[in-house]
């Protein structure tokens, strides 16, 4: 067993779990944050994307023990109270989701993408950068639109995204 301590969405969490516990299971089953999804469980679909120390990672492909001592942000950590994060707001506005299963990972990937491209994004870059996130409903079109709109909104407002 391993004692795991990390800051999740600004709150310090300490739990004793099996060494083999994946970060995604730690978040869902031990911390109770079920917004992060397990889709393929084979590192391909990106439904489990969270930020570890500010970088998007697939939480099904990292042990909780590896993440001990880090700061983790999940989909639950983006909104400020009732105010949606600009990327969440853009997904709502542009209908960037249908069933919604991939959405937590899509949004966490999009926030990371926008953070890494302060110069702005174009459609080609967004599509290439979405390589690690699979959506079976939307055909990606509205997801791309939402990310482009959010990127502009973030630049315009100089909002420092999570």
């Amino acid at each position: 067993m391993a004692e795991i301590t990390m800051v999740v969405n600004g709150r310090k969490v300490t739990q004793t779990v099996e060494d083999r516990t994946l970060l995604v299971h730690f978040l869902r089953e031990h911390v109770g944050l079920t917004g992060t999804h397990v889709g393929c469980d084979t590192s391909q679909c990106g439904a489990c994307v969270v930020h570890v120390d500010g970088k998007a990672v697939k939480s099904c492909t990292m042990l909780a023990a590896q993440a001990s001592g880090t700061e983790v942000v999940t989909i639950e950590g983006l909104a400020k109270g009732d105010q949606l994060h600009p990327v969440q707001a853009a997904f709502k506005e542009h209908h960037g989701l249908q069933c919604g299963f991939c959405t937590p990972g899509m949004i966490m990937a999009a926030v990371d993408m926008i953070n890494r491209h302060p110069e702005g994004l174009d459609e080609k870059t967004v599509r290439a950068e979405l390589e690690g996130n699979i959506c079976r409903c939307t055909g990606y079109h509205n997801i791309v639109k939402a990310i482009l709109a959010a990127s502009e909104a973030v630049s315009a407002n100089r909002v420092v995204a999570a």
Binding site: R20, L22, D41, G46, L63, G132
Partner: protein, 266 residues
């Protein structure tokens, strides 16, 4: 995943000690191959030794044309390195097409090279660049390091600490990705050095990365795709699977070599 015991090493010496003490330990760097393999129960190490918190394994140093990259450096950091890009942009391009952005945040160059997956990208670059793999015990040339399918010259208690290479005059990389897995179905790294040309092929060889000497001979006089007009490589020793026959991969090698040359000369 079977039970395992996690250890976090804070120095190379500690990692070597932990490796020798455990019954069946594996080193984990980014874990982007090992963790999925453990989840499939295709690997069941008794102990995992995490290398991500060892300062000696981190960092990129570029001095003139000499590039040295700590084994624990993630792909994203290599892809974004302006220092490496200034002397060998092909190396950054290659790092930027490994996996996806999330995988590139975790996966490391040392992990990729130690695993020597026959479809991994970095082994082609290391072989094409006549690189050196530095370990906790010695320096090994890329020529001697990549031994076969998932096999390297590494001994059981040996840890890769860094890789280094001298930037060539020109280099380029092109890969044809499997449309589903996105791994290289064939990837070719070409490099023009002061004393000759190297063409290193990944994703196609039954024994992992190798040099396409037929193409190297053609390019020796002229480092240009025109020199590969009508060129062929033998299909013997190439992978044949549900995705592509050995003959198809042999053709892909020539096509990817031409694209890599176009990138190098572009």
């Amino acid at each position: 995943m079977y039970q395992t015991t996690y250890h976090r090493a804070s120095s190379i010496d500690e990692a070597v000690r932990l490796l020798s003490e455990a019954e069946d330990a594996k080193l984990v760097a980014g874990g982007q191959t090992l963790i999925p393999t453990m989840k499939q129960r295709l690997a069941a190490p008794s102990d995992l030794i995490d290398l991500r918190h060892i300062p000696e394994l981190k960092g990129i140093t570029v001095s003139g044309n000499s590039v040295r990259i700590g084994a624990g450096t993630p792909h994203a950091q290599v892809a974004d390195s302006q220092e490496i890009r200034a002397v060998c942009p092909a190396f950054c391009e290659l790092a930027g097409v490994i996996g996806d952005p999330h995988v590139r945040h975790m996966g490391t160059i040392g992990g990729s090279i130690a695993n020597n997956d026959p479809a991994a990208d970095y082994p082609a670059a290391m072989l094409g660049l006549k690189g050196t793999i530095h370990t906790s015990k010695r320096d090994v040339s890329a020529d001697d390091f990549f031994v076969g399918l998932f096999e390297t010259a590494l001994e059981a208690d040996e840890i890769i600490t860094a890789v280094s290479f001298t930037a060539p005059q020109k280099a380029g990389y092109a890969k044809f990705r499997n449309p589903a897995s996105r791994y290289a179905m064939t990837g070719v790294f070409v490099a023009q050095h002061g004393d000759g040309v190297r063409v290193a092929v990944t994703g196609a060889g039954e024994n992992g990365v190798f040099r396409a000497t037929e193409l190297e001979a053609r390019l020796a006089g002229s480092f240009d795709e025109a020199a590969l007009q009508g060129a062929t490589v033998p299909s013997s020793g190439l992978i044949s699977d549900i995705h592509a026959s050995a003959e198809y991969r042999a053709n892909l090698i020539v096509v990817m070599a031409k694209r890599a040359l176009a990138a190098a000369n572009g």
